[in-house]
């Protein structure tokens, strides 16, 4: 059974026993993780927190030349305002469901919204984002997806976030990446690989991406950066790449997994690039895959040396785990 057949992947709790909080010694935690079941026992109630919908919007706001329709009542789309304010690549609207829509079904409104956006912006892809209301009333999105895909001849990508299927918002990244691969990357692994490598950057700060690129420049790789600040063409290249390099092992976990399982793109196992040693290990894992360990070792030594000299003068500090040099 193809991993992309379902509308959305399983939540992180079900797939990976993800917990939002833990209180106790590490020894007990690792025992429980090794055992049959682990349950989140503290902080199971949050007064307010991010949900999968918000995290999905974060990823979609980075896809260039796209339009996004949030299919729901207008309040649910307020999160989009944040992304617009911080520089969103996508243009978004909300279908603004009213009472009648929730009862009679609103696929007509959805269709109209997409056509309006299409005629105004001529995007290369349209995203439809789900919402608690239509998750509950099972409004029909799929027919609109199929009809308009045929009519407009461009990818129409539905993202089935619900707002309640997971206690961990990171499941929203998985749901969006599932849909992006399902609708943009083709049904099967391409016959020929290209010469590129994927840099899996999921909701990372642009400065961290920049630093990662600086470090990876050592190896002279041609990179597809997905999904942050990407285009749909990159999703097609990504499935024919030689390997995937996660910027961080956690957020892109599902993306890397599917690229490997379904499309045969090996995923390089890395540790989190936090701190000098961590970054060194990150770099060395990649180097080991490429057979360029000496290059990485030299760079790591240089980094460690510089840090011990300038640790008092360093203005950049540690940003999201990667040492940020001011020079």
């Amino acid at each position: 059974m193809s991993p992309l057949r379902a509308k959305a992947p399983r939540s992180r709790e079900k797939r990976l026993d993800t917990l939002g909080a833990w209180f106790g010694p590490v020894s007990v935690a690792s025992q429980e993780f090794a055992g049959d079941e682990i349950a989140q026992r503290i902080r199971t109630f949050a007064q307010s927190s991010n949900d999968d919908l918000l995290y999905a919007l974060r990823i979609l706001s980075g896809i260039r030349n796209s339009v996004t329709v949030i299919h729901g009542p207008r309040g649910c789309a307020a999160a989009g305002l944040y992304h617009t304010a911080t520089g969103s690549n996508t243009r978004w609207i909300v279908t603004d469901l009213d009472e009648r829509d929730t009862i009679m079904g609103a696929d007509g409104k959805l269709r109209k919204s997409i056509l309006a956006l299409y005629h105004r912006y001529q995007p290369s892809v349209v995203f439809i984002v789900g919402n608690p209301v239509i998750a509950i009333n099972n409004d029909d999105i799929q027919s609109v997806v199929e009809e308009l895909h045929q009519e407009l001849e461009l990818p129409i990508v539905p993202v089935y976030v619900t707002g309640f299927s997971s206690q961990n918002a990171v499941s929203g990244y998985d749901t969006v990446l599932h849909s992006l691969l399902k609708y943009l990357s083709g049904k099967s692994a391409p016959t020929k690989k290209n010469e590129t490598f994927n840099l899996l950057s999921v909701a990372e700060h642009p400065n961290d991406r920049k630093e990662a690129l600086n470090l990876l420049a050592l190896f002279g790789l041609e990179l597809n950066i997905v999904p942050d600040d990407s285009t749909i063409e990159l999703f097609r290249s990504a499935v024919a790449a030689k390997a995937s390099i996660p910027l961080c092992p956690d957020a892109p976990e599902y993306l890397g997994l599917i690229l490997q399982e379904k499309y045969g793109v090996p995923l390089i196992k890395v540790s989190r690039p936090v701190g000098i040693e961590g970054t060194g290990r990150w770099l060395k894992s990649i180097a080991a895959f490429l057979g360029k360990e000496s290059v990485a070792n030299r760079r790591h030594a240089k980094n460690s040396h510089i840090t011990s000299d300038t640790s008092h003068n360093c203005i950049g500090g540690i940003v999201n785990g990667i040492h940020h040099r001011t020079s």
Binding site: K7, D36, E37, I136, D140, S143, E146, E147
Partner: protein, 291 residues
């Protein structure tokens, strides 16, 4: 490569018309014929597979949603008569929550459990509750689950009306990958005119009847014993009727997109049959009338 395991069939029809009884008997007949069968009850009443399980309790799929621990297939299924795997989706008690969302969640849960990959059924029968009042109850015929749907109807106008309504749902989802209509199962056939009436309705809506199940004491009695006819009275004529239905479903995969009648057409059609039945009672014989 995604290959779906087995043939997935949805059974719809007016509430109380005999879907669960008919479906359970078809499942039993298919199992007797050597097939691996899963019957999934999609009704918050959770009574679809009762007569396959001798009335024993079965935890529903949605019961397990309330628990935090990992769910296994054994927790939400029971092997019934003939080896039929019985599953009930479950749902909230009447007047509470949203059963439609429940059906969606139950189906997702079953897919996550990889029930079909594990059990490897030849047939999966979805027995869906009568009044398809929201998107959730259409889940078995959309989202690529069932390949075919059959609608159970008697000759009573209300069940024909309900069948016509259900055709609208099939009509809506079939063009985008939903199930198509395999045909009508005519149930509770008693009056002489009944088969002709249902045939006529089928003809007008672009489909046909796949089998006629007579009203029978054997069915009522078996049900009171908590059994299917196939189990309680395997040598009876009624059992053979169900076996023939099962055989039809096994051997015929043809399906259509039905053409439901609109309100005025349905009214006119009903009136005409009202007149015909009156004439039957008063002894008027028409060409092609079945007496």
């Amino acid at each position: 490569m995604s290959i779906k395991q087995g043939k997935h069939i949805a059974i719809y029809g007016k509430g109380g018309i005999g879907k669960s009884t008919t479906t359970s008997n078809i499942s039993a007949a298919l199992a007797n014929a050597g097939y691996r069968v899963i019957q999934i009850g999609c009704d918050p009443k959770s009574d679809s597979t009762t007569i396959l399980r001798g009335g024993n309790d079965l935890p529903t799929v949605l019961d397990t949603l309330r628990e935090q621990s990992k769910v296994r297939l054994e927790d939400i299924s029971a092997v019934g008569f003939g080896g039929v795997l019985c599953i009930e989706a479950g749902g909230p008690v009447p007047g509470v929550g949203c059963a439609g969302r429940g059906i969606n969640a139950a189906v997702e849960q079953l897919q996550e459990l990889r029930v079909f990959d594990e059990f490897k059924p030849d047939f999966v029968l979805y027995d869906v509750l009568g009044d398809v009042v929201c998107g959730g109850f259409a889940v078995p015929i959309r989202d690529g689950l069932a390949d075919r749907a059959y609608v159970v109807s008697s000759s009573d106008f209300m069940s024909i009306f309900a069948a016509n309504n259900l055709f609208k749902a099939v009509n809506k989802y079939a063009p985008s990958g939903g199930a198509r209509l395999g045909g009508i199962i005519a149930n509770s056939i008693l009056a002489a005119y009944a088969p002709a009436l249902i045939d006529d309705f089928a003809g007008k809506t672009g489909t046909h009847v796949i089998g006629y199940v007579p009203r029978s004491l054997v069915v009522a009695q078996s049900e009171l014993y908590g059994k299917t006819v196939i189990e309680a009275a395997p040598q009876s004529e009624q059992a053979q009727v169900y076996r023939n239905l099962a055989k039809y479903i096994d051997e015929n995969e043809d399906s259509v997109i039905p053409k439901p009648l609109n309100s005025p057409e349905l009214k006119k059609w009903a009136r005409e049959w009202g007149d015909r039945i009156f004439e039957v009672e008063t002894g008027v014989v028409h060409e092609m009338a079945s007496i």
